[in-house]
Symmetry: C2
Subunit: 142 residues, 2 copies
DNA sequence: CAGGATCCGGAATGATACTG
DNA sequence: CAGTATCATTCCGGATCCTG
């Protein structure tokens, strides 16, 4: 395939020639660090899904738990704290009875729209692809 | 913020009104499932980084291990198997001595370029942002 | 060089129960 | 409702040793 199609930043590491490698390891390749950074913050099983759920207008804890399939209360709680720390979410408490807690996305989380869009597009395409593979497999067997 | 900015597919779940919810849970919201699918395949700490390393032209096992900072041989091995199963990578063995094993990206992995690009862009932006926050913090303290 | 096999500790997670 | 506390389990990942 097309070597380095998404790595404009050419990297001189002399893989099997000069062995001129002193880089701290992940220094070269801006792509590697950048994607690494991104994954560090929004990686993991849940972060993006929670953000999507929030973007769909669900704000309450239990709502979110119901929306994000398979997440436990404890994990959701932790992830929300994390998201808050990273500036994606604001938590507001309205005193009263019952107490109402709302989680809302910040403007900063809008910067993720492009990531989300591409991820969603890819996921959709990939699922279709898998279905086709399976269909072909059954045809071959029959 | 702008509700449902990346969810064109409007979802009628009656969160706190009609309670008309029977959906298997993650049925509604195409975004949720699509992104879920995507994360299932390319999620995790390593997958994308390995793909990036491969896209930069590194094909050998040990090369890859050196490139992807912090990964152990066992994990790299597992991830590569996974990537092969999912059709992102082809493994070729050239008999001889020493044996040469090469990992190469398939054309299918090209479909990820958009995801990678957006992720990389976001990661870059985010890192810059964090630096600014820290700078401001130090100024406020001084 | 390219990994597989095994052991092992710690961190993440699930389940359950409890609180304001 | 919105979580927290505790326990049991599981699983990931590192280190080490081994092979062809």
């Amino acid at each position: 395939m097309d070597e380095a199609s998404f790595a404009e930043f050419k990297c001189e590491t002399e893989n099997n020639a000069g062995a001129k490698i002193k880089l701290g390891s992940s220094e070269c390749s801006a792509a590697l660090t950048a994607v690494g950074d991104a994954l560090y913050v929004i990686g993991g099983k849940w972060k993006l899904r929670i953000i999507i759920a929030l973007s769909e207008g669900f704000t309450r804890f239990n709502e979110l738990q119901r929306r994000v399939d398979g997440i436990s209360a404890r994990v959701l709680s932790n992830e929300l704290k994390d998201l808050e720390l990273n500036g994606f979410v604001v938590r507001t408490v309205q005193v009263g009875s019952p107490v109402i807690v709302e989680y809302k996305l910040t403007d900063y989380s809008d910067t993720l729209s492009d990531v989300l869009r591409s991820l969603r597009a890819w996921g959709t395409m990939h699922r279709a692809n898998i279905k086709n593979r399976m269909k072909e497999a059954t045809q071959a067997t029959s």
